[in-house]
């Protein structure tokens, strides 16, 4: 699978979240805050400053937590990023979803009404 281009993925994720209602944006930001708090309390540092293995470990612990807030935070914070990453052409291609070929095929199979 292609590496994550952090800047590009974050930008696409932010664009999606900003289209939503204000409370969705606040909920996503709140989730990131909760994860940051968890990072500070468990590792002594903010999420962003942790090495990637520790970030992943933190996300997994939050996901498997018995506390609904932590579980929810791990899911919500990641949701727009997942959509942004798996929307990229190179990632889709790696998973067998060839957008360019599908567009071409659809253009060759335009349907009109009438029997």
């Amino acid at each position: 699978m292609p590496d994550v281009d952090t800047e590009r993925t974050a930008s696409a994720a932010a664009e999606l979240v900003c289209r939503g209602p204000l409370e969705v944006m606040l909920t996503v930001l709140g989730s990131v805050f909760v994860l940051n708090l968890m990072a500070v309390l468990t590792c002594g540092r903010r999420l962003r400053t942790l090495p990637s293995w520790q970030q992943m470990d933190l996300f997994t612990k939050a996901f498997n937590s018995r506390f609904t807030l932590l579980r929810g935070a791990s899911v919500l914070a990641g949701l727009p990023l997942k959509v942004a990453y798996y929307n990229q052409d190179d990632v889709c291609r790696a998973l067998g979803f060839e957008r360019g070929l599908l567009i071409k095929d659809a253009l060759d199979h335009q349907v009109s009404r009438g029997r």
């Binding site: 899911v75 949701l79 567009i103």
Partner: protein, 529 residues
């Protein structure tokens, strides 16, 4: 004609656009478009106002992220607050939610209409009469079952698994002509095969003389002497939100077809039809979750008909199981796992399927207006509905394992990964709480302006006309007194056509029987000599 922001050059106009029409409709989806077509075909002048933008078929390019930002209200991120939160995406485009639905076209179960008759006073229509409307709609939008070769491997596995368990399973009827199984029905059909109203009723209505205005937000219902006399609003460019001129359309009859969210909000904003206290209440949405089975062989879950097969054994219990296909970005949302685990699951995407579980909700919520034209939906899944949801997940997992899945992922904390029948039994035996579900979705909002025989408990009459305001009709899913238990678009369209008949009677001043008699009265009574 179909008018858009660009075609009217609304960026340069300041003066109010004032029009007159026999019928003025807000909403171009399943509720507004068939009615607009029917009345245009009868020779009435019809003006239809749509808040969203117009997107031709060739603009749909398999890009889900772009599609949700363009075709859905609020980027597809409309949520109902509750535990868990429920994603309730609705369309905001010419074609309404029909442009972004999966095309399933099912008639309502007979028992639902019986329920409406017994408990809600809808006693002026029989199931047989309703079927005549269904038949007309099905013919118009090419309803048929998908070709098994096109339906996709996800559907095949589902059917195999279901039949191995002795369940009744079949392909789903849907509104598609010459479908090639691109699997992106929810993001704009790129070939025009899916007969959503933007490619069916709307262009046909335009051919019959209807005037359709996109990028037009209705804000006011004009009233005079307790009668609706038109609609007023303003143009806003659908993508940038740029303000255009105001619009006023005077009409003899006004139809609200803005959907379960839009219609009650417009009524509440205008302080109308509130005598019963039911506007905005009784919000049902058919909550949905899904399981993701992983197989040894390639399934290609993006290829195939978007929603092609179902199990209907449990409809009586209010549970429906339907397959879905999704491109990678959208399927990634259905897997709640975090980071490395999520990446590992997604690397198996080509071998994954998706089986959906939908519940006919008995417990309902409500929609409330907020400042700035915003709204809030409050919805908490009921205890019995939650049990049904979990039961549906158990059955879906059993179908998956019967079909040969090696493991199944769910949205239920504590049971996110099922490796076999032992795990399914454990899920079945658990008392799953609402907060264990990471999220749900609801694609069929209904009920917020329910119809009924009693003005004290309903917003509209069985004809669709509001009790409080003459010549003001509602034609969308908000009129359903209860959830249907099946996908609602066909029923919305059928009732829309029926409502058109009542509007025709109102405008012509003649009953349907009188019109029929007129048609035959010209025939000679004596044989010619």
């Amino acid at each position: 004609m179909l008018h858009t922001w660009e075609s009217l050059e609304l960026g340069r106009k300041k003066k109010t656009i004032e029009l007159e029409s026999d019928v003025v409709v807000v909403g171009s989806g399943a509720g507004g478009a068939p009615l607009a077509y029917e009345l245009s075909a009868q020779g009435y002048s019809v003006t239809l106002l749509e808040e969203g933008g117009y997107f031709p078929t060739e603009s749909f390019r398999f890009d889900c992220r772009q599609a949700v930002m363009s075709l859905y209200r609020d980027g597809g991120l409309t949520f109902a607050a509750g535990i868990p939160a429920t994603l309730c995406p609705v369309g905001r485009t010419v074609g309404g939610t029909t442009t972004i639905n999966q095309g399933t076209a099912l008639r309502m179960p007979r028992g639902v209409l019986a329920d409406w008759k017994c408990f809600h006073g809808i006693d002026d229509i029989s199931y047989e009469e309703l079927c005549l409307y269904y038949q007309a709609v099905e013919e118009f939008i090419y309803v048929s079952k998908p070709d098994p070769d096109i339906a996709g491997l996800n559907a095949s596995r589902f059917l195999e698994g279901a039949r191995a368990l002795g369940l009744q399973a079949s392909y789903l009827p849907r509104n598609a002509k010459d479908c090639e199984g691109y699997g992106v029905c929810c993001f704009g059909c790129p070939s025009g095969a899916k007969q959503s109203t933007n490619v069916s009723y709307i262009p046909e209505a335009v051919k019959k003389g209807a005037e359709v205005y996109a990028d037009c937000r209705v804000e006011k219902i004009m009233i005079e002497n307790s009668k609706a006399t038109g609609l007023a609003g303003r143009f806003y460019k659908h993508d940038t939100g740029a303000r255009g001129p105001r619009i006023k359309v005077h009409g003899k009859v006004v139809v609200l077809a803005g959907g379960t969210n839009g219609t009650p909000l417009l009524l509440m904003k205008n302080g109308l039809a509130g005598t019963s206290g039911q506007v905005g209440r009784n919000y049902a949405l058919h909550p949905v979750t899904q399981v993701v089975p992983v197989f040894d062989e390639r399934i290609d879950p993006h290829r195939g008909v978007s929603q092609s097969a179902w199990v209907h054994d449990f409809l009586g219990e209010g549970i429906s199981l339907e397959t879905t296909v999704l491109p990678p970005d959208m399927l990634s949302m259905t897997i709640p796992q975090a980071s490395a685990e999520h990446a590992a699951i997604m690397s198996e995407y080509p071998n994954s399927g998706l089986f959906g579980v939908m519940v006919k909700d008995s417990h309902t919520g409500r929609i409330l207006p907020r400042p700035g034209g915003k709204f809030a939906v409050l919805y908490q899944i009921g205890r019995e509905d939650l049990k049904r949801m979990t039961r549906g997940n158990v059955v879906a997992a059993e179908i998956a394992f019967a079909a040969g899945a090696k493991r199944v992922y769910t949205m239920i904390a504590g049971h996110t990964r099922l490796d076999g029948h032992g795990d399914v039994k454990r899920l079945k035996a658990s008392k799953v709480r609402a907060r264990q579900y990471f999220a749900m979705s609801g694609w069929h909002p209904m009920g917020t302006c329910r119809m009924g025989g009693d003005p004290d408990t309903s917003v509209v009459k069985p004809t669709g006309e509001t009790w409080d305001v003459d010549n003001l009709f509602v034609s969308d899913a908000s009129v359903f007194p209860t959830a249907l238990g099946v996908n609602p678009q066909l029923t919305i369209m059928a009732l829309s056509m029926r409502c058109a008949g009542f509007i025709d009677e109102r405008l012509s001043g003649k009953s349907a029987v009188e019109e029929l008699m007129e048609q035959v009265a010209g025939a000679p009574l004596e044989p010619s000599v």
